[in-house]
Structure formats: C-alpha cells, structure tokens
C-alpha cells in the first residue's frame, strides 16, 4: 500500500534536487529504499550519510509510516 512521505532537503541535497520539500507517495518500507527510489546515490553515495525521520536520527532500515517526515543528512561541515 502506498504511503505518503514528506522529504525536506538541506544544503547540498536541496541544490541537487532543486527544491526544499518533496511529498512522495511510495511503497518502499525503509529510508534506504526511499533513497534508492529517489536515485540520489549516484550524486551522494550512501556511505557516510545519515537519515532523520520525524526530526530524530533513524536507522536506514527503520520502517517508514504514512506521514513520516524524512531528511537525508549529508556529512556535517559545521564548525
């Protein structure tokens, strides 16, 4: 069954996607699968990335629920 996932992009991801927010309808179960579905790995290899779901860091294989908010977190470059 399709679930709605809201994705917010920051920094390099926003530039790559050309938008800050995306609402997707998807059958995938996990953030890892969602990332693959979006085709982002070519530009941003998964290794070294983190993912946040509903404003908390999550496992790449956590189960997504309808209405979840997802952010793919590029390696930090603050400081």
């Amino acid at each position: 069954m399709d679930k709605r996932v809201d994705i917010h992009h920051f920094g390099p991801f926003r530039d790559a996607r050309g938008c800050s927010d995306e609402a997707v309808s998807t059958k995938v179960a996990t953030p890892r699968e969602l990332y693959a579905e979006l085709g982002l790995e070519a530009a941003f290899p998964l290794s070294g990335l983190r993912v946040a779901v509903n404003d908390a860091f999550a496992a790449w294989d956590a189960l997504l629920a309808d209405g979840d908010r997802v952010v793919f977190v590029a390696p930090s470059s603050g400081g």
Partner: protein
C-alpha cells in the same frame, strides 16, 4: 545549552553566563572565518542548519561532555547565515573546578559538534565560485560560478579520529 544563533555571537555574554563561585577554570574555543582555504581566497561562508535536530544533537553532545569530564557547565553556540571573514562561527565554553577537564571537555565538544551536528557550510571564493564543503572529506563539492578547487576554511584542523562516539573523520 546548545544554541543555533542567527545573529552575531557575543562571547563576553556567553562567558558571563558560565561564571560561578565553584569554578576555578574556564576554557573557550572560538571558530573564526578565515580568508583562505586550500589555496583559494575565501570571501564569505554560509552556514545552514537542520535546526531542530542540530539543537537536539548538540544538547546530546554537551550532556556527554558533562558525563565524561568533571566539569561545572558547558555551553555552545553555532551561527547560521552568512558570515564574513573574521566573523565568529562557533563558540564553546566550559567551566570546571580544575583546568584539565575543562580543556578536555572543550576539545571533545567542538570535535563532536563538527562531526555530528547537522550544519552545512557553503564557501564563497574570490573568483566568484561557491560550493558546499563535503563534510566527509573537508573538500568542496562541485562549485558553481567559477573554477572548482579547494577545501574547508574554518579552523583548519585535520580530521578528528573516530573516538568513543559516533564521530566520523572529516
């Protein structure tokens, strides 16, 4: 407390807030914007934060520091927005009864903040190019508007080795 600041950080005020009679040592780190990086002239930095998660992760780091080191208080502030050369990008202050844990905790906090807190830096160069710094390598990603070479442009520290936390080398 860990804060994201959209306005200039005031170190004197941050310091005063940590003063206490039980404190014998105060150690602070300030990260400034410098004018060069990797052979390129830097004119401007832009910092962007995933603010909600940055604050929660920053608070987690400060709590870890308070747990690991015998300190009285820890405070950190990170700017977002556009910063010119010489501006203060990040401030970390630690108080303790004695200097050794204050130094150790301060180092721990800035290393972990740089590795873990979801903040990203876009560098602007004198040649007109700009690009997001790759947090994994410290080098700029693809830049626009000019030639693309270069690396990070704040404190110039070599990547931190993985420690007892989830810190990643930069």
């Amino acid at each position: 407390m860990f804060e994201i600041a959209t306005e200039p950080i005031e170190p004197a005020a941050c310091r005063r807030a940590l003063a206490a009679d039980a404190v014998g040592a105060f150690v602070a780190f300030e990260g400034w914007v410098r004018d060069h990086n990797g052979g390129r002239a830097v004119t401007l930095l832009e910092y962007e934060a995933y603010a909600v998660l940055a604050v929660s992760e920053g608070e987690r780091i400060l709590a870890e520091a308070a747990e690991r080191f015998e300190v009285e208080a820890v405070h950190a502030v990170h700017r977002t927005g556009r910063l010119a050369v010489g501006d203060l990008a990040v401030w970390v202050g630690v108080t303790a009864a004695h200097r050794a844990p204050a130094f150790e905790a301060c180092r721990y906090v800035i290393d972990e903040v740089k590795a873990r807190v979801p903040i990203w830096k876009r560098e602007h160069y004198a040649d007109g190019a700009s690009g997001w710094v790759d947090g994994a390598t410290g080098a700029p990603g693809p830049s626009t508007g000019g030639p693309s070479t270069g690396g990070p442009s704040t404190d110039g520290e070599p990547p931190a080795s993985p420690g007892p936390s989830s810190a990643r080398p930069r």
